[in-house]
């Protein structure tokens, strides 16, 4: 049984309209007979059959518009065994193998001769505006080229250092502008989502007080250090919150460098980083915390301190703030907030009691993670703080 299909009647023809049949079922036809008229954009064209035999069934009806290759009729070819039933429409022949796109060989960028800084024009313009020496900026663009956000970050750091060391007026405005640029960019680019949870700190504080008794006052550990340790450990369980959103994708960081928000007496904010917080003991964390806060407030921070934190932690408990909803520092993808530890009624197995309760919050970039992962992070944080001795 041969199929008479909508013929291709021209280079740019994809569909045709069956205008009329010149045959009916039962008619015999021979190769070359005109058995139908098909309408194309150009005109109605007489269409010949290529088989000799008997028309068995007309599938397409006059007026019907069909793509090229669509079956129009069945013809029993003379001298061919009649199959049991009509073959259904044969699928169009296999599509030509998809040609892989031929990309022009990407022209290689000229290698960087020493001494020459590679920075985009926009980065150069911004650097000039914010008084940044490009030679001191770490670029994250192609071949280490410096791009806008590299300059923004460097500006945020540089003017903060200036602010700490210099009189309030002039330095702060530079820092203010840099922070403004970063915050504006965060708001513009990062779709934030916010989560909060209450954590019973009774056990943790009690444990800390006990362990502090064995330490001299100089070595005393503040609750803030314990919270940083908990954050670092929780990030090990939910790594997607630790890294950067670059070139439209999450670039996870294998290291955990906690950016600690440190406010300055003269106004303004600095975020020095505690490097590899997950690999440090509570005492080591406390020492580093003391070190960077002291140096920040004394204006003796190094640029390496402030450029590569992978997540930011802010603690406004001292100022009486209970719940902090922070703004993420681009290109990071999360920010953890801690509020004031407050005495609260707290039910445990139906028994009402009073507990020191801490509100922990998470602001995260919805491009990188979803609420489920954010919730799992806060849950891990809370669980870890119930067993302080294991931190």
């Amino acid at each position: 049984m041969a199929e008479f299909r909508m013929p291709s009647l021209g280079a740019d023809m994809t569909r045709g309209t069956l205008v009329q049949w010149n045959v009916k079922p039962g008619d015999t036809v021979k190769r070359g007979d005109i058995i139908a008229i098909v309408g194309t954009e150009k005109a109605d064209i007489e269409v010949e059959v290529y088989e000799t035999g008997t028309v068995r069934k007309l599938i397409a009806k006059p007026g019907e518009k069909l793509p090229v290759g669509a079956p129009l009729a069945f013809i029993e070819v003379a001298g061919e065994a009649v199959p049991a039933r009509m073959p259904e429409a044969v699928a169009a022949e296999e599509a030509a193998p998809a040609m892989p796109p031929v990309e022009a060989p990407a022209p290689a960028l000229a290698p960087t001769p020493p001494g020459r800084v590679h920075a985009s024009p926009l980065a150069r313009k911004l650097a000039e505006e914010l008084g940044i020496d490009l030679a001191k900026v770490q670029g994250t663009g192609p071949h280490g080229a410096i791009e806008r956000h590299d300059v923004e970050q460097a500006a945020a750091a540089k003017s903060a250092i200036q602010a700490a060391a210099a009189p309030a007026g002039e330095g702060v405005s530079g820092m203010r502008r840099a922070i403004a640029a970063a915050m504006a960019r965060s708001n513009r680019e990062i779709p934030h989502y916010y989560l909060a949870t209450q954590i019973d700190m009774a056990g943790a504080l009690r444990w800390l007080e006990q362990s502090n008794l064995q330490r001299s006052m100089e070595k005393r550990v503040l609750p803030a250090a314990m919270l940083l340790k908990a954050v670092a450990r929780a990030l090990v369980e939910v790594p997607e919150l630790n890294g950067y959103w670059v070139d439209d994708q999450l670039k996870r960081s294998s290291d955990i460098h906690l950016g600690v928000a440190v406010s300055l007496r003269t106004g303004g904010l600095m975020i020095p980083a505690i490097h590899s917080a997950d690999k440090k003991s509570l005492e080591e964390l406390m020492n580093e915390l003391r070190d960077i806060i002291t140096r920040t407030r004394a204006g003796r921070l190094r640029s390496s301190d402030i450029t590569d934190s992978t997540i930011t932690v802010t603690n406004l408990g001292d100022l009486g703030v209970e719940t902090v909803f922070g703004v993420i520092y681009p290109p990071q993808v999360a920010l953890v907030g801690f509020g004031k530890i407050v005495e609260r009624p707290w039910a445990v197995q139906g028994m009402l009691g009073v507990r020191p309760v801490l509100t922990a919050t998470l602001a995260a970039d919805h491009r990188a993670t979803d609420g489920r992962r954010g919730g799992q992070f806060l849950d891990a944080l809370s669980t870890l703080l119930q067993k302080p001795e294991a931190l």
């Binding site: 007080e209 008794l213 006052m217 005393r220 503040l222 609750p223 803030a224 007496r265 806060i293 001292d318």
Partner: protein, 79 residues
């Protein structure tokens, strides 16, 4: 230790932390931390300063007794 030396120790300990603080104008019953705008970190350093100057141990459990300047002075006098 008399009150004068205690106040001096307090002043010296605060200098590194809140240089612009003006102790004379802080009311005895005012909350020390708010008045001086110092956070828990500064407060620990302040206590460490007092400890080194007055040789006084101040356990965390006593923090509750040090909310105002007056309390602080009384506490230190008692030590």
């Amino acid at each position: 230790m008399n009150e004068a030396s205690i106040r001096q120790a307090i002043a010296d300990s605060l200098r590194g932390i809140a240089p612009e603080a003006d102790l004379d104008h802080i009311a005895p019953d005012a909350n020390l931390r708010e008045a001086l705008d110092i956070d828990s970190f500064d407060f620990l350093n302040f206590l460490i300063g007092l400890h080194s100057r007055l040789g006084v141990e101040i356990p965390e459990s006593d923090y509750g007794k040090l909310t105002s300047m007056g309390d602080l002075v009384q506490y230190l006098l008692a030590k």
